[in-house]
C-alpha cells in the first residue's frame, strides 16, 4: 500500500473533523495508507507568517515537510490553502536568501529540511495514483442522475510554477470533474467553475464583499446546470458554501440553496460509509441529499 503523510492543517481537524474521518475512510480501500504526521502544525495560514516574513513562513512550512521527510513519505493535504502554502514555500526555498533564513530558524528548532518530500493535494493522489477506474469500482452506491457543481478551489489551480501536479488547463480544470464522474454523477461545466468562492482573507476583511463573489458563483451554478449538490476539493470553499448560503438567501441575494459536500465526504458516502462519521457536521441541512446518495436503489448489485 502506498503511504502518504496526511497533512491535516487547522480547519479540517478542528472545524470539520468529519472531512478528516472521510479521508481516513476512503483511502485504505483504494490502496493508499494515510500516515499521521505527528507534531505537524498550521501550514502556516496566509494571514500569519506569510504576511510578515517569507523566511519565517518557509521555516514553519519546512518544519512540517521535514516531518514527512523523516517518515519517508510524500505529503497529501485536504486543504487547498495548506497545499498552496507548502508548495510555494518549497518553491521559495530555491531562493538562497529565503532558504538561509529558513534553515537558520529550522536549526534552532532542531529540524532539517532537504526537500525530498513532494506536496500533493488529495485530489492529485486520487486522480493520478488511484485513478477514476479504481474509484468507480469501489463505489457501492452509483450516483447516476445526480448533477454536481464542482469547485476545485484556487490554490490547486495557480500558480502552476510552484506545483508538482497541474491541471492541463488550470483555467478550465477537470480533475475534480473526473473524480466526481467516476461515481456515476455528472459534473457539467459552468462558466464560473474556476472562480474564487470568496473565503479567506477577503471574507475576513469584508463579509459583505466576500458574499458578492459567492453569490455570482452560486447563480452561475444554478442558472447554468441546476445542480443537486456542490462538491468541493477545498475545505475552505466547503465552509464558505456551507455557512454563507443561508445568509445570502436571507438577504434576498439568492432564492435557492444547494447542499455541499467535500469530495472525500461525497466519495465516502458513495462507498457506503456511515454519514454520522463522514458527513455529520454542517450548517445547512443536507439529510435529504445524503439519503439520496445512499438510496438503496443506487446500490451496486454484487455479482
Amino acid at each position: 500500500m502506498v503511504k502518504y503523510g496526511l497533512f491535516l492543517g487547522c480547519n479540517i481537524p478542528f472545524k470539520a473533523p468529519d472531512i478528516e474521518q472521510s479521508m481516513r475512510k476512503v483511502f485504505p480501500p483504494l490502496g493508499v495508507e494515510p500516515v499521521d504526521m505527528v507534531g505537524a502544525s498550521c501550514c502556516p495560514a496566509w494571514g500569519t507568517a506569510p504576511s510578515f516574513d517569507k523566511g519565517t513562513w518557509c521555516a514553519l512550512s519546512c518544519r512540517n515537510m521535514a516531518i514527512a521527510e523523516e517518515l519517508g513519505v510524500n505529503i497529501m493535504t485536504g486543504c487547498n490553502s495548506c497545499f498552496g502554502i507548502l508548495s510555494e514555500a518549497k518553491h521559495f526555498m530555491h531562493d538562497p536568501e529565503v532558504a538561509e533564513e529558513a534553515h537558520e530558524l529550522l536549526a534552532k528548532a532542531g529540524r532539517t529540511y532537504t526537500g525530498s518530500a513532494d506536496v500533493y493535494h488529495i485530489t492529485h493522489v486520487l486522480h493520478r495514483d488511484i485513478g477514476t477506474e479504481k474509484i468507480a469500482a469501489a463505489v457501492k452506491f452509483r450516483q447516476d442522475g445526480l448533477t454536481v457543481a464542482v469547485q476545485a478551489g484556487c490554490h490547486v489551480l495557480w500558480p502552476t510554477d510552484a506545483m508538482a501536479i497541474k491541471e492541463e488547463n488550470p483555467f478550465f480544470p477537470h480533475m475534480l470533474k473526473d473524480l466526481v464522474e467516476a461515481t456515476g454523477a455528472s459534473a457539467p461545466h459552468y462558466s464560473r467553475i474556476e472562480a474564487c468562492c470568496g473565503m479567506g482573507g477577503m471574507r475576513t476583511t469584508s463579509v459583505d464583499k466576500s458574499m458578492k463573489i459567492l453569490a455570482a458563483k452560486l447563480r452561475s451554478m444554478k442558472e447554468e446546470i441546476n445542480p443537486d449538490l456542490i462538491v468541493t476539493g477545498c475545505s475552505s470553499c466547503y465552509m464558505q458554501f456551507d455557512q454563507s448560503q443561508e445568509q445570502l438567501r436571507a438577504s434576498g441575494e439568492i432564492d435557492f440553496t444547494i447542499p455541499v459536500l467535500y469530495y472525500t465526504q461525497f466519495l465516502a458516502l458513495a462507498m457506503g460509509f456511515d454519514p454520522a462519521q463522514v458527513a455529520a457536521i454542517s450548517a445547512m441541512d443536507r439529510s435529504a441529499l445524503i439519503a439520496e446518495i445512499q438510496n438503496p436503489a443506487r446500490a451496486v448489485q454484487e455479482v
Binding site: W46, A59, G200, M202
Partner: protein, 170 residues
C-alpha cells in the same frame, strides 16, 4: 490635492517592496491583466494588482498604509499566472502586506490568529473541537502540535527567534 512625486520616495518605496519579496515590481508595464482576473478587485477592493503596483511605483507607501485591500488578497495567484511580464503581482501585494504588518497596520483578526499560532501551533484554533471529533469517531486530539509538546516547542522556537518575534504579539 495633487500627489507630489519625489525621487527619494519612489526609490525608498521600491526598495522596501523589493526587500519584502515584491522583486518583480519594476517589470510591470501596467497592462491590467492581473486586475482583470483578481477576485478581490471584483469584490470591491480596488488597491490590488495593477493599481497597488502603480501607487508603489510613484512612491505612495505611508499614504496607503491603512489600505485594507491588500488584506483581502486571496493569494490565489491567478494574477501571477496571467501576468505577461513575470511581475508576480501577488508577491508584490504580499510584500506590501508585510510592510503594513511590520508597521503593525493589521487587523485584530490577524493578531488573534498569530497568538493562536504561537499558543497551539494552529492559526484557526477552536475550543469545541474535542466533542466534534469524538462525535464522528475520531480521537479527541488530532496528532498535531495540540497533542505533541515537542512539536509545539519547535514551532514556538521558530516564532520567537524570527523577525515576527520582535513585534510583541506573544
Amino acid at each position: 490635492m495633487s500627489i507630489t512625486l519625489t525621487k527619494e520616495k519612489i526609490t525608498a518605496t521600491v526598495k522596501i517592496i523589493t526587500e519584502y519579496g515584491g522583486t518583480g515590481i519594476f517589470k510591470c508595464v501596467q497592462c491590467g491583466a492581473c486586475s482583470a482576473v483578481c477576485p478581490s478587485i471584483k469584490a470591491g477592493f480596488p488597491v490590488l494588482c495593477r493599481l497597488l503596483i502603480k501607487k508603489l511605483l510613484i512612491g505612495q507607501l505611508e499614504e496607503i498604509i491603512e489600505e485594507p485591500s491588500s488584506w483581502a488578497c486571496q493569494a490565489c495567484c491567478r494574477c501571477s499566472e496571467v501576468c505577461p511580464q513575470g511581475v508576480k503581482p501577488q508577491e508584490v501585494v504580499f510584500a506590501f502586506r508585510r510592510f503594513q504588518a511590520n508597521e503593525l497596520a493589521i487587523s485584530t483578526a490577524s493578531t488573534t490568529s498569530l497568538i493562536d499560532l504561537h499558543a497551539t501551533g494552529h492559526a484557526a484554533h477552536t475550543t469545541t473541537y474535542r466533542e466534534l471529533r469524538a462525535g464522528v469517531g475520531l480521537p479527541e486530539q488530532p496528532p498535531t502540535t495540540v497533542s505533541d509538546a515537542k512539536g509545539l516547542q519547535e514551532v514556538q522556537t521558530i516564532l520567537e527567534n524570527c523577525l515576527m518575534g520582535e513585534l510583541g504579539f506573544y
